[in-house]
């Protein structure tokens, strides 16, 4: 991990439909870091995550990406900061068509050769799936991997994951997170995961930010936050944290 902040959030507040969702949130994310954002339901985790690639904008405060205002070049930002949503979107058509979706506006991706697409599928451990396979016929876990492969074709520096395992069983959840962890190392990705599953995140995240009612109530390693009993205060866990820790 290098000490170079890739993101800087400075007193970021966010309001939607008259409700304050984020309240003066400040923190930094280092390049190459694996960060987990945890919080109970409605804590503002997903809203916060959407700020990283400017799908949401702060009502107040400032966000910098690589030292510049996050909105400096939006298309470049979104290419560099990929996101995997809770419910992966799979478009009608083949696996190949899904992988090449960004080819509609990006010539480089449009010209990707089939063997490169197969490599992209192998990268997400889907090498056995044919490019001509109907994407909608894939299982939930495979659709999640396909969405991940599509995001990786943009060669991002940062990967955002919004509750990526919430619709998957524990075994599949772990295999997806193992994959993300492997990719974060091989591709030197900065990974930011929003999750309610603190047990799963303990295996991967180097640092954790705990949100409660739109405010940061904890920012540090699991060990530090366990010591300060942050997870209990945020209403995130029962006794199982201590067992696990």
């Amino acid at each position: 991990m290098q000490n170079e902040p890739i993101f800087q959030f400075n007193k970021v507040s966010f309001e939607a439909s008259g409700t304050k969702i984020l309240k003066s949130v400040s923190f930094e994310v280092q390049k190459g870091e694996f960060l987990a954002i945890l919080g109970a339901s409605g804590a503002g985790k997903s809203s916060l995550l959407r700020h990283f690639n400017s799908l949401n904008s702060p009502t107040e405060g400032q966000i910098n990406f690589r030292g510049k205002d996050i909105d400096f070049d939006l298309q470049c930002l979104r290419k560099n900061v990929g996101i995997l949503f809770q419910n992966p979107v799979v478009f009608t058509g083949s696996v190949k068509e899904n992988l090449l979706v960004a080819g509609r506006w990006d010539n480089k991706i449009a010209q990707t050769l089939d063997h490169e697409l197969v490599q992209a599928l192998e990268q997400v451990e889907m090498g056995s799936i044919q490019l001509t396979h109907k994407a909608k016929d894939l299982s939930g876990g495979e659709q999640q991997r396909l969405a991940l492969a599509r995001t990786l074709l943009n060669s991002p520096q940062v990967l955002l994951l919004d509750e990526p395992t919430s619709n998957l069983d524990p075994k599949l959840s772990q295999s997806i997170m193992d994959l993300v962890n492997k990719l974060s190392k091989s591709l030197e990705l900065t990974v930011i995961v929003v999750s309610h599953d603190h047990l799963l995140m303990r295996r991967y995240a180097q640092r954790v930010i705990v949100l409660s009612k739109g405010e940061i109530v904890g920012n540090g390693s699991f060990k530090e936050l366990d010591k300060a009993m942050i997870f209990e205060k945020a209403g995130l866990v029962g006794d199982e944290v201590h067992d696990e820790a």
Partner: protein, 266 residues
């Protein structure tokens, strides 16, 4: 032998009340509960159309370009208001968007017909400009209203798809392309079907009217063909212009989807 003209007198019209009497009888017999509505509808259609006849007679006596342009302008304003009222969803700036779409279609299509196809002299002759302008605006209104409603439905249905595309680096225009395409396609199908079946299944109103008024069917057919082409072009143009303006209302300047606009409104 072809009659020159079938003149419909007020007495003839009274006889046509037989249709209403018959419908009334059927409604009563089947206990459909529509008796009052039918009577009000009968009276309103009589009064409204009779008044319109007198108004049109006065309009047709006006021979001035400023009058004609003002009238078309007012027709477009009313159609834009009606189109806005028909929207099930609150789309920001919908009224001006509809106005621009209808105005542009009317200028291009009505202008082409009056100046280059019918070669009307003077071009602002109300006998041509009012009925053709009315058809263009009316057809544009119907098609564009349908498109806009469908578009919001498509946006709602494809919300996650659109955000995925934005997140991958697409511009809003690219992100909504499929939603726009599907909406315009759906709205144009009635026009395409009409072109496919015209003359086979039904005789269109304009042609029927002209034939009843004593016009040679060959000439009436030519008019009808022009009108079909005009309708299709109006619908296509109005839909594209409308959506080209409307889709922007769903995004911020930072290429973010305004998700609150897609929430179902009570």
């Amino acid at each position: 032998m072809r009659p020159d003209f079938y003149v419909l007198t007020w007495n003839d019209l009274v006889v046509s009340l037989f249709f209403i009497a018959f419908s009334f009888f059927l409604i009563k017999k089947w206990k459909l509960g529509l008796e009052q509505t039918l009577l009000i509808g009968t009276l309103r259609s009589f009064v409204q159309l009779t008044l319109m006849g007198y108004v049109l007679t006065w309009f047709f006596d006006q021979q001035h370009w400023a009058f004609m342009l003002s009238l078309l302008f007012i027709m477009i304003l009313i159609a834009s208001y009606e189109g806005t009222r028909r929207q099930k969803n609150d789309i920001p700036h919908f009224f001006p968007a509809m106005f621009v779409a209808l105005l542009a279609s009317a200028i291009l299509i009505l202008g082409t017909i009056l100046l280059f196809i019918l070669d009307v002299k003077p071009w602002y002759s109300p006998y041509a400009a009012i009925p053709i302008g009315g058809m263009i605006i009316g057809n544009g209104l119907n098609s564009a209203s349908l498109t806009a409603n469908r578009f919001v439905g498509e946006m709602r249905h494809r919300e996650n798809e659109i955000e995925t595309l934005l997140a991958l680096g697409a511009t809003p225009k690219i992100a909504v392309y499929d939603a726009m395409n599907t909406s315009i396609h759906a709205a144009l199908i009635p026009n395409i079907n009409a072109m496919m079946t015209v003359g086979l299944v039904q005789l269109p109103g304009v042609m029927t009217g002209q034939i009843l008024a004593g016009i040679d069917p060959i000439i009436a057919v030519r008019y009808q063909i022009m009108i079909m082409y005009m309708w299709f072009t109006t619908a296509t143009m109005a839909n594209i212009i409308l959506l080209a303006i409307v889709y922007r209302q769903f995004f911020t300047k930072k290429m973010q989807l305004k998700r609150e606009l897609l929430r179902e409104q009570a």
